[in-house]
């Protein structure tokens, strides 16, 4: 018999034996899983820029996303940073819809973002912000270029 065929046969038998052995019933089956910790995790954009605005006007909507990448339902509450002492951004309003929005003022508004559908995934909540100066009664005597305020998005478990 050819030496090559013989070695192939031996190899075939070994393979068959290994497959047979692995198919033998075992006494126990081990189930394994990674269980992730309950965690709050959130991402928000660093900067949202409005178009030019003046007293008496409503800005265009600025869309952005809040991302819940944790493992629990959260409530997100935007608030103005304590260091802001201006009046303009106190008229910041939010809603989750663009058309026919209710536009709730900062300080009162909060939004619930459910946890991701799969652990380790992300749940995106579309948000819209407006700067509503329609009721702004003070005269603005000088143009305020790049007027800024830090809005803090605080996430807590629902």
């Amino acid at each position: 018999m050819n030496k090559k065929i013989l070695s192939l046969m031996v190899f075939g038998f070994v393979l068959f034996g290994a497959a047979f052995a692995s198919a033998q019933p075992t006494e126990e089956t081990i189930f394994s899983v990674n269980v992730l910790e309950t965690e709050i995790s959130i991402s928000v954009p660093d900067r949202i820029v409005f178009n030019d605005i003046a007293a008496g006007y409503l800005s265009e909507d600025q869309g952005f996303e809040l991302i819940n990448s944790g493992t629990t339902d959260i409530r997100v509450t935007p608030s103005l940073n304590e260091s802001y002492n201006g009046a303009i951004f106190k008229n910041l309003k939010f809603d989750t819809v663009k058309t026919n929005p209710e536009m709730t003022r900062i300080g009162v508004f909060n939004v619930e973002v459910s946890r991701p559908n799969i652990p380790g995934g992300e749940k995106n909540q579309q948000m819209y912000a407006w700067l509503d100066l329609t009721q702004y009664s003070e005269e603005i005597n000088k143009t305020m270029e790049n007027h800024e305020a830090t809005v803090l998005f605080t996430a807590t478990q629902q």
């Binding site: 928000v44 629990t72 909060n110 605080t154 807590t156």
Partner: protein, 178 residues
């Protein structure tokens, strides 16, 4: 010209995509249950992208209030006779475990929110904090003679002083009569 515009669009997209702050904390709630004067501790884990400076503070609702409404939590620990020890400023590289220890002077149920934020970033995470303290309010009972925070109460001190004063007065009265 077209390629320049394309490059500009990609550049803007790239800038937008990296300008998002992320913060993670677990667990989302802490429970402290124990006796008045006892030090109770818990741990939390904070995760950030890269290396970030993180600041923390804790705020409380009125005693007995337990609803998870953020703006109702505006009291400082001192106002409720609670002493809370935790790192208020720290630099975190990716992930760090932090210990929070608490000691209270009065019995009751307290509801707080432990807030951590990345310095200069627009996001903050609040961890609901439930505190239940049992035992005797010995601060209220004995005034300044006992400091529950630092040492074991010496309940014999005040009666002993009263007894000494009583005998001194008795001695003075007898001397006066004779």
């Amino acid at each position: 010209m077209v390629s320049k515009n394309l490059f500009f669009i990609f550049f803007i997209f790239f800038i937008y995509s990296i300008n998002a702050a992320t913060l993670s904390i677990s667990p989302p709630q802490l429970n402290f249950e124990g006796e008045v004067g006892e030090e109770l501790c818990n741990k939390i884990r904070i995760k950030v992208n890269g290396t970030e400076n993180v600041t923390g503070k804790i705020k409380w609702a009125k005693e007995g209030y337990s609803k998870r409404i953020l703006h109702e939590h505006n009291l400082d620990s001192e106002e409720l006779n609670l002493k809370v020890k935790f790192l208020k400023k720290l630099t975190i590289e990716k992930s760090e475990e932090i210990e929070i220890c608490l000691r209270g002077k009065n019995t009751g149920n307290y509801h707080g929110v432990l807030l951590y934020r990345i310095q200069g970033k627009p996001l903050q995470i609040g961890i609901w904090t439930n505190v239940s303290l049992e035992g005797k309010d010995f601060i209220k009972m004995t005034g300044n003679f006992i400091n529950a925070e630092d040492k074991e109460p010496n309940l014999l001190l005040f009666p002993t002083i009263l007894l000494v004063v009583f005998f001194a007065l008795l001695f003075w009265y007898k001397k006066k009569i004779s």
